[in-house]
């Protein structure tokens, strides 16, 4: 298993609705090598976000199992999954998910502080600089543009030194030009850190920048790996 950091087997997700159970994911099998860059594509509603949240251990599947960084996270409890997340996982979300009451810098410091890192501030400042926002450290999220907020989110995601970075439509809320720059930053940092990247997008151009592409359609995988152009 040396090269495989993320593996899913027969992952099924069903949710109860008023009209009976709704199957969102239906038998997903995949394996991602360490350092790989994987794009998950599909139409809106095809289950991309659901898959990502299960792979990252935010949510539990109805069936099947998931290994992340050597742990079978589907067999862990919330407490243990949180530890795996702390150790191995970073997130970038479509809606940024910064904490409004904290400054940009404090948002970046948060994972470092959670890890009990002593030099949280210095490290965070380094990441702020890396994403080109050293002048905006004391600003609050609401005082930043969408692109800037996403940069802060990216700095925060990399600050904890994750092994796998999950990005859910990181450019989805941004205009094309800004989105392009954010994508550049993401890939650049990813290359530098050697992080495994799992990128959810419905943007074909963005997906093409990844070595592997997984296509989802109504909760099923279409021709894994071969979907790449």
């Amino acid at each position: 298993m040396s090269g495989c950091i993320l593996r899913a087997r027969a992952v099924v997700k069903r949710v109860p609705t008023s009209e009976g159970d709704l199957t969102i994911l239906d038998g997903i099998d995949l394996a991602v090598d360490t350092g790989a860059q994987v794009a998950v594509v599909g139409e809106s509603g095809s289950g991309k976000t659901t898959l990502l949240s299960i792979l990252a251990g935010l949510d539990l599947p109805t069936g099947g199992d998931v290994w992340l960084d050597g742990e079978e996270i589907t067999a862990l409890d919330e407490e243990q999954r949180a530890r795996v997340r702390a150790r191995s996982v970073g997130f970038v979300f479509q809606s940024f998910q910064l904490i409004d009451s904290l400054t940009a810098l404090e948002n970046v410091m948060l994972p470092l502080e959670l890890h009990g890192r002593r030099q949280a501030r210095e490290d965070a400042l380094g990441f702020m600089e890396r994403v080109g926002l050293s002048a905006r450290t004391t600003h609050y999220p609401l005082q930043l543009s969408g692109g800037e907020q996403q940069r802060v989110a990216i700095a925060r995601a990399f600050a904890s030194g994750p092994k796998v970075l999950f990005a859910d439509e990181p450019t989805g809320n941004l205009d094309t030009a800004t989105g392009g720059k954010i994508a550049d930053l993401l890939f650049e940092l990813n290359r530098e850190a050697g992080t495994t990247l799992m990128l959810v997008t419905h943007d074909a151009a963005l997906a093409r920048r990844c070595a592997e592409v997984i296509a989802l359609d109504a909760g099923r995988m279409l021709a894994p790996r071969e979907a790449a152009p």
């Binding site: 407490e79 997130f91 009990g116």
Partner: protein
């Protein structure tokens, strides 16, 4: 999560204003409780001190024989301070003028009085000045009345028994004067070591011995425990409360009120803590979801936020203590004019009360909502609608138990608390029902109203679940305020009416039938007297239904306290003893301040009848229809008990245990008594009265009345203070409650504005919505307040219960004003911010 991280989180939240309300609520809870406890603690100590002055000591052992050395030794062992008072009636005479007069001699040892002070003067019937001294051996101080009676002045010699004394001062007042029978005679104060020389004390003399005790409560209690069994039946242990029944009932009610007020403050502040903690938790769902995606474990989240809460709790409790201390100093400063006595330093108890209140408020009211944060799913970053499961019943059970424990502990009375809570539960459910009806009705009304009201009432109805909650919270807050105002008014009015400004402060006794006319004329001319002369005869009951009184008493197994002369007389109430000689009166009509509770008052020309005070009758086992035989001046006569009365003992009017129908005592040598009001500065009139009618006795109770009035003023002020605190707490609840609905309103407002609602429309709708909420809350509150005050007045304070139409409009108006003002101020910013910003903030 480490403490330092929790600290940083707390600091950042503080900076963002997230914790202010929570802290304010805690601050108020702790501050209010501390201030009330401190003030009440000190006031109580001061009141006890002041009441102790009426006793001249903290405790008194009272007897008709000398107090045994053993008691003194035990008292001395406990570090108590002692002084002796020996009282007996004796003739005082002046050889120079040849006059003599029965005096009530009081012989004291150095140290007397242990509490309170004596006042002496150079001239009779003047106010005099305080003194710490006593007459030296061989000297006496005389009551003003003795000067005209003996026709002496300061410096002259008077004799008591075989001894001669120099009169060195006028005794203007003594703290423990009381109003006992022996008090009828004017006082002569001398030293105990001079008694022997007078040779007036013979076996069989009527002498009262008192051992005055002063010292710490523990020492006094310990002494009482040590000698309790030896006290009965010859010795009576008297404490401050026994010194005055009037203070007693006023104090008891004040304590109940303060207790109730403190209780409500804690409860309201607790609600404010719970509301603000809930809001804090809600606003942190997203925060926590992000923390969890970053790898924070549920346990870390739980401990982290518990730590944040504890940090706030400690900060709030400490700041609250300071606030409470400052507030109580402020109160004392404000009342300085009214607090003539220096307040004793407080004990440690109030500080603990304050701290523990903060602690329990945090744990019982603040923690449960925060514990929900543990369960926030990290998936919330993706699906916003994922709210954590509600906290377990266990958590709320703990919170309820904690809150209950706090209340019981604070009030020290589980029953009162139990009733208060049961009342609260009923109130809340009734309020909720009422609120729902009001909201429905409001919406129907709104359909026909203008756009502002339509919008407002539709908004109210849309969020009806939260709004029912808010109406209940507002309603309870307004109700509590109304209750406090009503009960306070009733209490203070009642206290003040007890001692009207022109309450009689002089009792005139021993007026011969021939003097009744002249004395009445003189009083009317000089004092605006409009009282009534009561005939009075000393007499005793010798037979009940033909059985000898002594035997009857034995049959009743009544512990007769034959020797007990205290507290019998004007305004006082003695302990019934059937064999005692009593003041009897005969009246055609029922006197004021008396109510017949059983049987009927007699008609003119009825057969000889007797009317008994109800407790007296009950204690002696006498009932309607019993026939009583009296011995008055050696002549027996018999009367039937035809009614029992309730007597307002604190009315300061001449009151009687036994009243007989007119005619029953015809031909007996009656004297008359009455009472009148004499302003303190016109005391010299007494000199004139006594010179013109030398056989008349006057008893001056002005001092006691002044005491009472002062105490009542203090108590009323303490009551007002508590009212102010309850008001603050109520306001805080209001703010917390409006704040907690702010986030949701914000969303709607932003949308409305984005959809093109003008600022005026939106402000209007907002204020209208709050006004409607306030009005509903006011209506609900008035109904609740009426029911509650009725119950409280009836069962706790024992005051007459009535409806209060004055609050029927004031309650809803107050609700409208308060809620729309606080609501508008709290949401004003929302209306002002451009919709884009507002939407983004969501």
């Amino acid at each position: 999560m480490s403490l330092s991280l929790a600290l940083r989180l707390a600091l950042r939240d503080w900076r963002a204003g997230e914790l202010r309300l929570l802290l304010a609520a805690l601050l108020l809870a702790v501050g209010a409780v501390t201030a009330v406890s401190l003030f009440v603690d000190r006031l109580q100590r001061a009141l006890v001190a002041e009441s102790a002055a009426l006793l001249g000591a903290d405790r008194v052992i009272d007897a008709s024989r000398p107090v045994p050395q053993r008691f003194r030794d035990l008292a001395a062992d406990r570090g108590l301070v002692l002084a002796d008072v020996i009282r007996f009636p004796s003739m005082a005479s002046s050889e120079a003028t040849g006059r003599s007069q029965l005096a009530s001699v009081k012989a004291v040892t150095p140290g007397y009085p242990l509490r309170g002070t004596l006042r002496v003067a150079g001239e009779p019937f003047t106010r005099g000045r305080r003194t710490d001294g006593l007459p030296a051996p061989g000297e006496v101080w005389l009551d003003s009345r003795l000067f005209p009676a003996l026709d002496v002045k300061v410096g002259d010699t008077v004799s008591v028994g075989y001894a001669d004394f120099t009169v060195t001062a006028v005794l203007a007042s003594e703290p423990d004067r009381g109003g006992g029978f022996m008090g009828f005679a004017p006082r002569l104060l001398m030293r105990a070591e001079d008694i022997a020389a007078t040779r007036v004390i013979q076996p069989g003399s009527r002498i009262r011995y008192r051992l005055l005790l002063a010292g710490g409560g523990d020492a006094l209690r310990s002494l009482h425990d040590a000698i309790r069994d030896e006290l009965a039946p010859g010795y009576r242990w008297r404490d401050v409360r026994a010194a005055n029944a009037r203070i007693d009932s006023a104090l008891e009610r004040a304590e109940s009120f303060l207790l109730l007020g403190g209780l409500l403050t804690v409860l309201l502040a607790g609600v404010a803590v719970a509301l603000s903690a809930r809001r804090y938790a809600r606003r942190h769902y997203d925060h926590v979801a992000v923390l969890k995606t970053l790898g924070a474990t549920p346990a870390e989240v739980q401990w982290g936020y518990t730590l944040v809460l504890l940090i706030i709790g400690v900060a709030g409790a400490l700041a609250g203590l300071v606030l409470g201390a400052v507030a109580h100093f402020g109160i004392i400063a404000a009342l300085r004019g009214f607090l003539p006595m220096s307040l004793p330093p407080p004990g440690a108890q109030p500080v603990w009360v304050g701290l523990l209140t903060g602690f329990i408020c945090v744990l019982a009211f603040g923690l449960p909502p925060l514990l929900r944060l543990r369960g926030v799913s990290p998936m919330r970053v993706i699906r916003r609608d994922l709210a954590p499961a509600t906290a377990s019943a266990w958590t709320y059970g703990c919170a309820a138990a904690g809150g209950l424990g706090l209340l019981v502990w604070y009030s020290g009375d589980a029953t009162l608390t139990g009733w208060a809570l049961a009342g609260a539960a009923v109130t809340v459910s009734v309020f909720a029902g009422l609120a729902l009806i009001l909201l429905r009705g409001g919406r129907a009304l709104g359909m026909q109203a203008g756009s502002v009201w339509r919008l407002a009432l539709a908004g109210l109805h849309r969020r009806h679940r939260e709004n029912v909650g808010q109406i209940v919270v507002f309603g309870v807050a307004v109700m509590l305020l109304l209750i406090m105002v009503l009960v306070r008014t009733a209490l203070v009015d009642e206290w003040q009416s007890r001692i009207p400004v022109r309450a009689p402060n002089q009792f005139v006794m021993n007026v011969a039938p021939a003097e009744v006319g002249p004395v009445e004329t003189l009083l009317k001319a000089r004092t605006g007297y409009d009282g009534r002369m009561f005939p009075m005869i000393r007499g005793r009951i010798t037979e009940v239904n033909g059985i000898g009184a002594a035997q009857w008493q034995r049959q009743r197994r009544q512990r007769a306290e034959e020797t007990d002369d205290e507290r019998d007389g004007p305004g006082g109430r003695g302990r019934p003893g059937i064999l005692r000689e009593r003041n009897l009166t005969f009246l055609a009509d029922l006197p004021d301040h008396n109510v017949v509770v059983d049987g009927d008052w007699w008609a003119a020309g009825a057969a000889p009848s007797a009317s008994l005070e109800e407790e007296y009758a009950a204690a002696l086992g006498l009932a309607l229809g019993d026939s009583l035989t009296f011995d008055v001046g050696g002549l027996p006569f018999t009367a039937k008990v035809t009614n029992t009365r309730r007597v307002a003992w604190d009315s300061l009017q001449p009151n009687f245990f036994i009243i007989l129908s007119p005619g029953a005592l015809d031909g007996q040598p009656a004297t008359y008594m009455t009472s009148f009001h004499l302003p303190s500065e016109r005391k010299a009139f007494l000199n004139e009265l006594l010179s013109r009618h030398p056989t008349v006795s006057v008893i001056d109770v002005d001092q006691i009345i002044t005491h009472l009035r002062r105490i009542i003023t203090h108590v009323a002020q303490a009551v007002e203070l508590v009212l102010a605190l309850v008001l603050c707490a109520g306001l805080l609840v209001l703010i917390a409650s409006i704040q907690s609905s702010r986030d949701q309103r914000l969303k709607e407002l932003a949308l409305l504005r984005a959809l093109g609602g003008t600022r005026r429309l939106i402000t209007g709708a907002l204020v209208a919505e709050f006004a409607a909420l306030g009005a509903f809350a006011g209506v609900v509150a008035v109904i609740g307040a009426e029911i509650t005050t009725f119950t409280l007045n009836r069962f706790v304070f024992e005051l007459p219960a009535s409806l209060h139409p004055q609050i029927w409009l004031a309650g809803p108006l107050f609700g409208i004003l308060m809620v729309s003002a606080v609501g508008y101020l709290g949401t004003r910013r929302l209306v002002r911010t451009p919709p884009a910003t507002a939407l983004r903030e969501l």
